[in-house]
Symmetry: C2
Subunit: 351 residues, 2 copies
């Protein structure tokens, strides 16, 4: 069963209920966490036959709001839908959890309740962004707003394992998000991260600007969470406004309206290609159990997709395998270091 | 006369020469700084009658490359086209300068050779971005990658004066770029800036996410230069890829090609609306003389527009007026502070 925080998100709980019903119709067991009274009404309204679907309910008396302080709310609102959904995973009552609510609170709950994977300093949000030639994996997209360079190195290592596992690319090419391609570009943190990545043994190809991520030759772009989040949201906002301007132009004249009619499959395809709701949500990497952080603005389709994604992640035991390989990558570094002859080692550290 | 660093930019010196000729044809005097031998060939090739235009040449033996370290190259390459163009403005031989070259070097040259305006801690790059309802002024777009909160407060103050002067909006609404609308969102620097802005007396309306800058109700968005640059470039890259995908869809079928033909004025209008080359470049704010930083990827049209912009900035004595008003805004704060009764002041600082 997948635990869904039904009260989290801009359009919750309506879209949570609708998404859960659609996922359940595809055979996925979903447990809704939230206000039973509200959820029952919505379930009845959406599908009278919902009893026949693999849907269950857990009544929660509290809600973590978008404006709540993440750490404080997770500690204080123990009976909230978000905390209860994470606890269900911790207590092995659910295989994975999904929340479109306060993403900071999801991060805190994941770290406190599910626990960090071995050696991982900070969990990170990673996701693919479509490009000219396919897609690029971006990590971190917002979990860490003030990362240390050591965290950014780990994001790159986690990205390396993720892309290797999911795209079967060996030694994927890794770029670092900066304000210019030159090595001297970037904030202090980014410059220090550049040095760490260069010495990491990863296939690091240097800095990349945000305007080039759609046609650079990297498989992964590593970001500090603040800039990564700004980039992701700037992309989403720009897609929206370009489509809005296109629609405006269509409305300008009958000729344009005719063009839109003739080319309607083209416009549908473009909208489909740029629809970020399709993605559903991003998997939180670096924690012990599967947890999907969905967009705050998720619609029913996004929630459905997030639930389907969570189901497959759980089914394939992806997180356990991923954490194993990440640990191996981290430990290999340590093993390499310990393979140095004792005599030489003493020169470096044991004076 | 406007000084143009003819060797700076991805497509220099060709686009610099072409842009200069077009600006000169509109009556603007341009002095090209660069390798005389190369520039003369290009001038002849572009327009044989260039002698009849108000174009002059200053031979420079060095070039600051995109990969050069900004501070070091400005200090060492004294005979470079970039440094010479800035020196011409310092020595009152030119009214303004334009460079599409190494923007870090332009910033260093502007600070060292032109000097900071009174009370300004750090110059910043500001520019308008088109939105649903008009445009929004974004500052800083990349001059300061590790700004202190005090710098960000000054960016807001400079933005306030700029928008008041250029759009005649009194007490413009100011938002702060963050990874969420809530006050607790953001990097440490952004959170501290939030507090400063709240107490500043400016019309501060809170945080804004990058996805909402196109339809938020702010006139100005203040950014740390690193995130601001990432946002700007993500917008540019996304516009490019959406248009690329649209073109791909057009090529899919004859039906779509027909739609594109019928609606070609619509596609032209969309491309025009999203053409960032139109902008030309951004005015550097917080220095003593006019200096336009053009995009590295500038084409001839961008250079032409940057020269026209520089001409108007110089003609209207904009920078002098702007610096006066910014100083007045800063000093008003100081005056407010100094209006406190002496007795009370001693309690705070004179223990």
């Amino acid at each position: 069963v997948i635990a869904l925080d039904a009260m989290g998100g801009d359009f919750a709980p309506r879209v949570a209920v609708e998404g859960a019903i659609k996922a359940a119709q595809r055979g996925i067991s979903v447990c809704l966490f939230g206000d039973e009274n509200i959820l029952l009404v919505l379930l009845e309204k959406t599908d009278r036959l919902w009893h026949t679907l693999p849907i269950s309910l857990e009544h929660c008396t509290q809600v973590i709001e978008m404006g709540d302080d993440p750490s404080r709310s997770v500690l204080k609102k123990e009976s909230s839908s978000l905390v209860r959904a994470f606890k269900a995973v911790r207590d092995k009552k659910a295989l994975a959890c999904v929340s479109a609510g306060n993403s900071g609170a999801s991060l805190v709950a994941a770290t406190l309740l599910l626990g960090r994977a071995p050696h991982v300093l900070r969990p990170a949000i990673g996701d693919f962004i479509p490009t000219k030639s396919g897609s690029i994996f971006c990590i971190d997209l917002g979990a860490n707003t003030d990362p240390k360079p050591e965290y950014i190195l780990q994001f790159a290592q986690m990205g390396d394992v993720y892309v290797t596992m999911t795209k079967n690319i060996h030694t994927p090419r890794i770029a670092l998000l900066s304000n210019g391609a030159e090595p001297y570009k970037g904030s202090i943190t980014i410059k220090q991260s550049y040095s760490l990545l260069k010495e990491s043994g990863l296939n690091f190809i240097g800095n990349v600007e945000a305007r080039n991520i759609f046609d650079c030759n990297a498989d992964i772009v590593v970001c500090d969470g603040f800039a990564g989040n700004v980039m992701l949201k700037a992309i989403q906002g720009t897609v929206d406004i370009v489509l809005y301007w296109l629609q405006q132009e269509i409305n300008v004249s009958w000729r344009n309206k005719l063009a839109a009619l003739v080319g309607r499959s083209m416009f549908t395809a473009l909208k489909h290609k740029t629809d970020y709701a399709q993605a559903g949500g991003a998997l939180l990497l670096g924690v012990q159990e599967p947890c999907i952080i969905a967009h705050g603005c998720s619609n029913a389709k996004s929630i459905e997709n997030a639930l389907v994604f969570a189901y497959h992640v759980a089914q394939e035991r992806f997180i356990a395998l991923f954490n194993q390989q990440v640990a191996a990558l981290f430990e290999q570094k340590k093993m390499n270091a310990s393979l140095m002859p004792q005599k030489i080692r003493s020169i470096f550290g044991e004076r």
